[in-house]
């Protein structure tokens, strides 16, 4: 960087070192680079809490666990409470209905590519658990403009023979009809 270029901007930083390259420089091989595709595989331990949670999802149920010190039923369940730092107590079956806490209407897929039909995603607090306790999931059987915070929803499950013990055993949450409350 020449002294002239350095004095271009008043104040600090006095200059901005760095060389901008664009995608075209890469496609045209104007700069050299090394390409690498890592092959990394994982096998994560579920632990007793997640293990039971997924087993129950396979059976078509949502289960939580109670922290007796804080007097809250936690979902997703865990073996210890991160607030009072005690082991949690008994398992508690919860309903498969809940309330929309927040949501988003996404026009991006997981790799940040654009999609035409939006994905409806949000956080649902589950009935029977402590207030505001729930998990993230899709919404379905509704138009994007119908989705509102505070809306009452119910889980739509995969058929029993298609469930594998995964969060995706629930297909999505749909609006709860008045007569189902």
């Amino acid at each position: 960087m020449s002294e002239e270029e350095k004095r271009q901007f008043e104040g600090y930083p006095k200059y901005a070192p760095g060389t901008h390259v664009r995608d075209k420089h890469i496609y045209n091989k104007e700069i050299t680079y090394t390409w690498w595709e890592p092959e990394v595989q994982y096998s994560w331990s579920l632990g007793p809490a997640m293990s039971r949670f997924l087993q129950e999802l396979k059976a078509g149920k949502i289960i939580g666990k109670k922290c007796n010190t804080c007097d809250r039923v936690i979902v997703p369940p865990r073996m210890f409470c991160e607030y009072c730092y005690n082991p949690t107590g008994e398992w508690v079956y919860l309903k498969d209905t809940g309330t929309v806490e927040t949501f988003s209407i996404s026009y991006l897929d997981p790799d940040a590519r654009r999609i035409e039909e939006p994905i409806l995603i949000g956080v649902i607090s589950i009935d029977g658990a402590a207030p505001k306790h729930g998990f993230m999931h899709y919404f379905g059987e509704m138009k994007p403009e119908e989705l509102k915070i505070g809306m009452r929803v119910k889980a739509v499950w995969k058929p029993e023979n298609e469930r594998t013990g995964s969060i995706t055993d629930i297909k999505y949450f749909r609006p709860l009809r008045g007569d189902e409350e």
Binding site: A16, Y42, E82, S104
Partner: protein, 387 residues
């Protein structure tokens, strides 16, 4: 007995989506600039702290060890710290520990990030922050998370998108005076932001800061040796850091209580009891426009829900009563995660020392607060500098 710690030099590289330099070279360029400003040689630096967020962006495992050559750290005590987006202010906090504890007289802090190396998009690496069992099977995109938090914040306080878009306009215009800026735009309007494509409602393209490559550096020294470098030091008045639970689906996202906890810790150390009156300007973390408002409230600079009103009234402009992000923030200058120290702490230093040139806040700013935020809506790091 804690030592008083002063900042004596800072440096930053260009921030762009992709830079030709390797991570080491970027660290070198930023460090060299800071050393030139401080008037210091490599052997006068006692210890080095490197701040760099996930290895998965640069694609180099243990990248702290890879970058140290460029951070003047060969043969020195060295540590790499990292807490996601909070690293931009956490690395200087770690640098402060080194000097305040008395184990080092001079500590260099370098932050670097190369997000351009990750293909097809840094989002692909970012995705691994999601819980593998509960969240990843749903194939989430990280923007969804911010969209959900933005939605919650807007709904609880009944905020319109127009008021949030004002932040993007302010910061991208503020960045015009910054030589490193990636997205400075003197002509951007609220309409431009509201007409930009919807990524994950309510987040639109111009609401988000871009991924970037870049590096920044900062040099701290103790009260015992500061006279060798300057007669008018800028001091670290307070530091704070705090983290909340990973179980983000069990929290109400409308208010970042972990930011308030970190801010209280820093204000206590600095002896500040009335932040809105005693803080002259602030650099809260603004990877999204709504985050600046969210963090202003978290930093207790205004009441909950008041931040958009202050923005609308022009209070947060550079010439307002409480300038926010005079550097142009992440929305204007760029977002190389850890290297945002350049806008969050280096900017506080340059403003307080009167060296910010075209970005200088009028009047006589004496106290500034910088903040960073990271992980899954969890980590807050706060630093207060004063003259």
């Amino acid at each position: 007995m804690k030592k008083q710690v002063a900042v004596i030099g800072a440096g930053m590289t260009l921030f762009r989506r992709k830079l030709k330099e390797t991570g080491k070279e970027l660290s070198f360029l930023a460090t060299k600039m800071a050393m030139e400003e401080a008037g210091i040689q490599k052997d006068e630096i006692d210890m080095v702290v490197m701040g760099s967020a996930p290895d998965a962006f640069d694609g180099i495992h243990m990248k702290g060890e890879n970058l140290l050559d460029g951070a003047a750290a060969v043969g020195k005590p060295y540590v790499r710290v990292f807490n996601g987006g909070g690293t931009g202010v956490f690395a200087p906090i770690a640098g402060w520990w080194h000097v305040a504890s008395g184990v080092a007289d001079v500590c260099l802090v370098v932050c670097e990030e190369k997000m351009g190396s990750c293909y097809p998009h840094p989002q692909t690496a970012f995705r691994h922050i999601w819980d593998p069992i509960l969240d990843r099977p749903l194939n989430p995109n990280l923007v969804w998370l911010f969209a959900m938090e933005m939605n919650r914040y807007m709904t609880v306080h009944n905020i319109k998108k127009e008021d949030i878009a004002l932040v993007a306009v302010k910061n991208k215009r503020n960045a015009v005076g910054h030589p490193c800026a990636q997205l400075a735009d003197p002509n951007i309007t609220v309409e431009d932001v509201l007409n930009s494509e919807v990524m994950a409602w309510p987040v639109q393209r111009l609401d988000i800061s871009p991924p970037s490559d870049g590096a920044s550096a900062l040099i701290f020294c103790s009260e015992d040796v500061v006279h060798k470098f300057t007669d008018d030091p800028i001091w670290v008045a307070g530091v704070g850091w705090n983290i909340d639970s990973t179980m983000w689906t069990n929290r109400d996202l409308y208010f970042p209580r972990y930011v308030a906890n970190a801010a209280k810790m820093a204000y206590k150390m600095a002896g500040i009891t009335n932040p809105p009156k005693e803080i002259d300007f602030a650099e809260p973390y603004d990877p999204f426009d709504y985050k600046e408002l969210h963090h202003m409230e978290g930093l207790l600079l205004c009441k909950k829900g008041e931040a958009p009103i202050l923005t609308r009234e022009g209070v947060t402009q550079r010439d307002g009563d409480l300038p926010i992000c005079p550097s142009g923030g992440l929305l204007g200058v760029g977002n190389p995660i850890a290297a945002t120290m350049g806008q969050k702490v280096c900017e506080l230093y340059w403003q307080l020392a009167g060296k910010a040139g075209k970005r200088q806040i009028p009047g006589d700013p004496r106290v500034g607060v910088g903040q960073a935020w990271g992980d899954i809506m969890q980590m807050a790091t706060v630093m207060i500098l004063k003259r």
